[in-house]
Point group: C2
Chain length 601, copies 2
C-alpha cells in the first residue's frame, strides 16, 4: 500500500511537471461542500492512505504534507509512515495552516508566478478565493489530480430520489420557488444558483440517499425567473419524479452539464445570485464578476424556519424517538456488570428507531461511549475498539433518526450502577446549563451569541468548559447540522456569524463535560423557538423543548440546584411523563418512566 501511495504521488508529480504546476492541493470533499463525502471523493485518501474524516494534502514537486487536527494525530502518523508525506499537526504551536504553508512556498518560489492546482469542484469558493489571493500565486482550478489513475474508483453516488409529500413538508415546491423568486427580484437577480444539497432538497421537496445520513441527492439547481433547471443524474429519476418536476416547472438536465450551462448563462449576461459559503470554487470562477450578487441563499433562512406542518410532525415524531431512548435507558439501567458493550447499546437504540413507522435513516452514526471514551467528542466504537459497560461509570449515547416527519438528535448520559460524587456534580452543572438555556425568554434580535452563556455559566463558575458550540440548527428530514442558527459563546467578527434566533427554528442545546481519561457527559435536547408575547418593548421569544426522554435522576446531586433549576427539571419531567406514558408498552416500562420522571424536592 505504501509503495502504491508513493507511485501515485510520483505519477502526480510527473503530470504536475508537464503542466508547470508547482503545488497541488487535494481535499476529500465532494462537489457540494457536504459534511460527509462518499468514497468516490476519497482523492486525499487515494494519495495518502489517510482515512480520517478531516484533512487536506499539499503536494509539491519535492515535498508532501497532510494537514489534520488533534483527533487524528495518532492515526495519521501510522497511516503516513513510509509514504514520504509529512504530518502537519493543525492547531499545534508553530504549525502553519495549509494556506500559510502554501503562501510560504509561493513566497520562496523561484517560479513567478507559482502555480497552485486543484480540482475546483472539491474546494469551497471562499478557500479557492483565498488561494487565488496569495501573493505571487496563480491558481489552476480545473486540475483533476486523480485523472484516469484510480483503477476501481468507487461509483459516483446515485440513489433513486423521491418526493416528500406536502403532508410532511407543509409547503409545495411551487410555493418555495415563488419565495426564492421574490428574493431574486428584490436583489435584482436573473438566476439563483443552488449547489448545496440540502438547499436543493428543501426547495424541491425531494430527498435521496447520496450522502451518508443526509437524505439528499447529487444535483445542482438553477432557478430562473419563470422556470428552473435541475442538474441530476438520470438514474436518480423515476417516471413519477420526472412528472412531478415537470408539473413544478423544473426542467431536467444532466448533472454533468451544470457548469457549461452556467457559462452560457453568463455569456447571455444573466445576473447570478449565489452564496459564496455554499458553492464550490469551480462555479465561483464561472460567475464571479461585479454583476454577480453574492448573498446567503434565500433558502437557508426559509429552511431553518419550520412551518406549522413541520412543527406538528416534529412534535409527534419526537415522542416516538424519545420513547426509544427511554427504552435504551431502561435497558442500560438493567445491565449487569460487563453484560454488554458500547456497540450493543448503539444497536439496541438503532433497532428501536427502525420500528418507528416513518423511519428512513439515522441522523448520524450513533455515538455510544462508555467511561473515558465519552471524553472524546468524536469517539466512535468499532468492533476492534468496543468498551464493555461496567458498573461505576457513565454511558453516553448521542443518536437520532431521519423520519419522514423530521430529524431528531438527542444525547443522554446514564449512570451505570453507583457513580462518584464528582460525576454527579459535573452532570448536575451540565443539566443546570441545559435547562437555563431551554428556559430563556428573549427579545427577537438575539442570536445564539447572546444566549449561549446561559448554558455555560454553571460550568464556567466551576472552571469547566466544553470546547465546542452549545448547539446547532437541525434540518427537517434533512441534515442534522443545519445553518444558520446555532449557540456559540465566542463572537468572531466576519468568521463565524450566526443568525438571529427566530420562531420556527430548531436548535440543539447540548452542554457537556469532557474529562480526559475519565468520563464524558453530554445532555442534549432540541429547542423549538416560539413567540412568547409582544408588547411595547418588542417581540419576546422562548423555546419549547421538542426532545422527550428522562434525564437520569441517579446522576443528580440536588445540592447544586436552586429552586429555579429544580422547577425547570420537574416541569420538563412532567411533560416527558405525560407525552411518553401512552407509548410505554407494558407495566415495567410505565413504572420505569414514572420512577425516572419523579418530582425532585
Amino acid at each position: 500500500m505504501k509503495d502504491e501511495i508513493r507511485a501515485r504521488i510520483k505519477n502526480l508529480r510527473d503530470r504536475m511537471r508537464e503542466k508547470n504546476i508547482d503545488i497541488c492541493y487535494i481535499t476529500g470533499d465532494d462537489y457540494h461542500l457536504s459534511e460527509y463525502s462518499g468514497a468516490y471523493f476519497g482523492t486525499r485518501e487515494f494519495f495518502s492512505g489517510f482515512t480520517g474524516s478531516a484533512g487536506v494534502l499539499v503536494i509539491t514537486r519535492d515535498s508532501a504534507g497532510l494537514f489534520t487536527d488533534g483527533r487524528y494525530f495518532t492515526q495519521a502518523k501510522n497511516q503516513l509512515a513510509d509514504t514520504g508525506i509529512d504530518l502537519m499537526k493543525m492547531g499545534m504551536k508553530g504549525v502553519p495552516t495549509a494556506k500559510e504553508y502554501i503562501a510560504d512556498l509561493c513566497a520562496g518560489s523561484d517560479e513567478s508566478p507559482c502555480t497552485i492546482a486543484f480540482d475546483g469542484r472539491t474546494v469551497s469558493a471562499a478557500f479557492g478565493d483565498e488561494l487565488a489571493a496569495i501573493k505571487g500565486a496563480t491558481v489552476m482550478a480545473d486540475f483533476d489530480p486523480v485523472g484516469d489513475l484510480w483503477d476501481g474508483r468507487p461509483a459516483f453516488p446515485v440513489s433513486e430520489v423521491f418526493v416528500l409529500d406536502e403532508k410532511y413538508t407543509g409547503e409545495s415546491a411551487l410555493s418555495k420557488l415563488k419565495r426564492v423568486r421574490m428574493k431574486m427580484e428584490e436583489y435584482g437577480a436573473d438566476v439563483c444558483a443552488l449547489s448545496s444539497l440540502d438547499d436543493i432538497a428543501w426547495t424541491l421537496n425531494m430527498r435521496g440517499a447520496d450522502v451518508e445520513c443526509n437524505p439528499v441527492f447529487m444535483s445542482n439547481l438553477l432557478i430562473g425567473k419563470d422556470r428552473a433547471t435541475l442538474f441530476i443524474q438520470s438514474d436518480a429519476l423515476n417516471e413519477d419524479v420526472r412528472t412531478y418536476l415537470l408539473q413544478t416547472g423544473v426542467d431536467i438536465k444532466d448533472y454533468d452539464k451544470f457548469y457549461e450551462e452556467c457559462e452560457n448563462l453568463k455569456l447571455e449576461g444573466k445576473v447570478f445570485l449565489a452564496d459564496k459559503k455554499r458553492i464550490n470554487y469551480r462555479l465561483f470562477e464561472i460567475i464571479k464578476d461585479e454583476k454577480t450578487i453574492l448573498k446567503e441563499n434565500p433558502t437557508v433562512l426559509f429552511k431553518a424556519i419550520k412551518n406549522e406542518t413541520e412543527i406538528v410532525n416534529l412534535t409527534e415524531v419526537h415522542r416516538h424517538d424519545g420513547a426509544c431512548v427511554t427504552r435504551l435507558m431502561m435497558w442500560a439501567k438493567g445491565l449487569t456488570d460487563g453484560e454488554a458493550t458500547e456497540l450493543d447499546a448503539a444497536t439496541f437504540v438503532d433497532e428501536q428507531r427502525k420500528k418507528i413507522e416513518d423511519f428512513y435513516d439515522f441522523s448520524f452514526p450513533t455515538i455510544s461511549a462508555y467511561g473515558a471514551n465519552a471524553a472524546m467528542m468524536h469517539y466512535a466504537a468499532t468492533p476492534e475498539n468496543n468498551a464493555v459497560i461496567r458498573k461505576g461509570g457513565m454511558l453516553l449515547v448521542d443518536s437520532g433518526g431521519q423520519y419522514l416527519r423530521g430529524t431528531t438528535d438527542i444525547t443522554r448520559t446514564f449512570a451505570i450502577g453507583e457513580v462518584s460524587d464528582g460525576m454527579k456534580k459535573a452532570f448536575t452543572l451540565t443539566l443546570k446549563g441545559m435547562l437555563a438555556l431551554a428556559d430563556a425568554v428573549f427579545l427577537k434580535g438575539c442570536s445564539g451569541y447572546s444566549l449561549d452563556v446561559l448554558a455555560r455559566e454553571a460550568l464556567w463558575k466551576e472552571g469547566i468548559d466544553y470546547r465546542c458550540g452549545t448547539g446547532h440548527g437541525v434540518g427537517y428530514m434533512l441534515n442534522v447540522h443545519e445553518s444558520p442558527n446555532a449557540f456559540r459563546w465566542k463572537y468572531n467578527p466576519g468568521v463565524s456569524e450566526i443568525a438571529d434566533i427566530e420562531p420556527g427554528m430548531v436548535t440543539t442545546d447540548e452542554p457537556g463535560v469532557y474529562e480526559e481519561g475519565r468520563y464524558g457527559i453530554r445532555i442534549e435536547n432540541e429547542l423549538l423557538c416560539e413567540k412568547a408575547f409582544e408588547n411595547e418593548y418588542g417581540i419576546f421569544l422562548r423555546f419549547k423543548t421538542l426532545t422527550l426522554a428522562p434525564i437520569d435522576l441517579d446522576l443528580i446531586d440536588v445540592k447544586y440546584m436552586n429552586a429555579d433549576d429544580i422547577a425547570r427539571l420537574n416541569d420538563y419531567h412532567r411533560t416527558v411523563r405525560r407525552e411518553l406514558m401512552p407509548l410505554m408498552e407494558d407495566e415495567s416500562e410505565r413504572e420505569f418512566l414514572e420512577r425516572y420522571t419523579a418530582e425532585l424536592k
Copy 2:
C-alpha cells in the same frame, strides 16, 4: 429671536450662492467628537434656535430641516416655530435620516455634481466619508457656516491644564508613549495622530476642564517615532506643564497649526496611523490615502485596562463615593412627605462629594428623578421642572465624581415611604439581573455581547426590557463613558462592535425598568474585571464590584429571589458594610448602614 434666525439663514444662503453650495450641513459638535460640546460650538443652535443636546441642521437654498430624536420633538417644535425650519423627527416611520435626506436632494438636483458644504472639523471622518460617497455629490469640507456672522460668540474653551501625578496614573507618559510607539512600529506607521481628547489626556497624564464633566483639554497630539508634538492653546500651559512636556519629549505648537502640520508631514511622505472613529473629517481628508493605516488608536485599549495603581486608587475612592450615596439614602429615607425636591436631592449628594479629599468635578450632571420623571432616561430636573419628593414613590439618583483617584458612576433607586408591590417586583427583577451579571465567571474572549443576557434575563422573563445597553466602560479621572468595552445584547455586525472584556477593564452594570408615566428604576454598580483562574480550558475571568452603597431593602420582594440571588445580595451587602462602616461618622449613620445591609433570609 425668530427674525434673527431667519436673517442668519438668509445670510448663509447668500454665501452658499456665492460659493455654489447647494446643501449646508451643520452640527453642534466640537472638533474632537466629544460627547459634550461647549457653547463656542453651538453653530446649529445659532442657525436654528434649537437647544437640545442632539440634532443636525440641513440647509439648502430654499429649505431647511432640523433632525433630532424623540426626546426633543416637543422642544424642537416650539423652538423652530416661525423660523422656516422643518422638524425632521428621527426614528419616526417615513422620516429619512439626514444622510438619506441629503442623498435624495442630490438625486433630485439639476446641478451636477451637487455641492454639500460643512465644517469638516465638526463632522466625524466616518460621516463625512459617507456624505462624500453620495452619488452625484461633491463635498466642500472647509466651509465655516458661521464666518464672522456670530457677534458675541462664546470664547473657545480654554482652561489651565495640569499634570496628573504618577501616584494617580501608575504609569509615566514616557512609558505610555513607548507603548504607542511599539504599536506604531508593529503597524509600520511614522506618526500616530490622536485627536480624541481622552486619548491625549491619558497618554500625557494631563488633565484640563475644556469639556463639561470631562477633565480634558482642547488639543491634538502627533506622536512620532522619537518625539511628539502637542497642539494646544498657549493659555492652557503654565511653566510647570511646559517643563513637564519638554522632559517627556513633547514639543509644543499652537492648537491652530495642527492641520497645517499634518499636511506637511503628508507631503514628506510620512505614514499616518489614525482611528477613523475618533478623528474629524478635516483631518481625515488630509491623511486619507492608501498609505494611511486606519486602526483603533492603540491608546483606546491601553486606557481601558486599568493598572494596579489605578485599581488601588479606584477601590479606595469608591469607598468614599459610596459613603456619600449612603448619606443621600439616609437623607432621602428620612424625608417627610413633600419636604424636598429632586434638585434638593441632587444638591445634597453633590455637596457630599465635594467634601471628598481629591474631588475634582462631577462625572456628569447629577440625575435626580422622582416618580414618573425617572421613567425618562435623559430626564434632568430644572428649577422650573422640579418634582417634589412624596411618600409612595421612588427616587432615582444617578451620579458620580471625578476624583484624582478615578471616576465613579453609581445609580441607586430608593423607596420613599411604602411603595406598591408592582414597584417592588420590578426592583427585585432588576436587582437579580444586576447581581447575576456581577457574579459571572467567563472565559477570556467573551465580549459584552456574550454576557449581557445575564443582566436582562430576569426582566425578559416578565416581558420587560430597558431600551439601552446594560453598561459602558468608565475612564479613570476621564470620560465617564469610555470605549471599547460595554455590555449590549444586540450584536450589529460592523456597526457597534465592542471589545472582549479583559482584566483591568471597568464597566457599569446598570439594568433598569422604565414604566412611562409611572416610575423608573435603575441599579448601577461598576464592575472591575479580574482574572479568576486558569486551567486547561483557558483563562477564566470574573468581576469585582467597585461600587459600594446599600441596595434599598425596602424595595425587595424576596419571593422573586432564589437562593443564589439572596446569597449574592448578602455577599455584596457584607462587603458594603465592612468597607463603609469605618467611614460612617456617627451612631445614626452606623445604625442606618447596619440596617440597610442586613442579611436577607
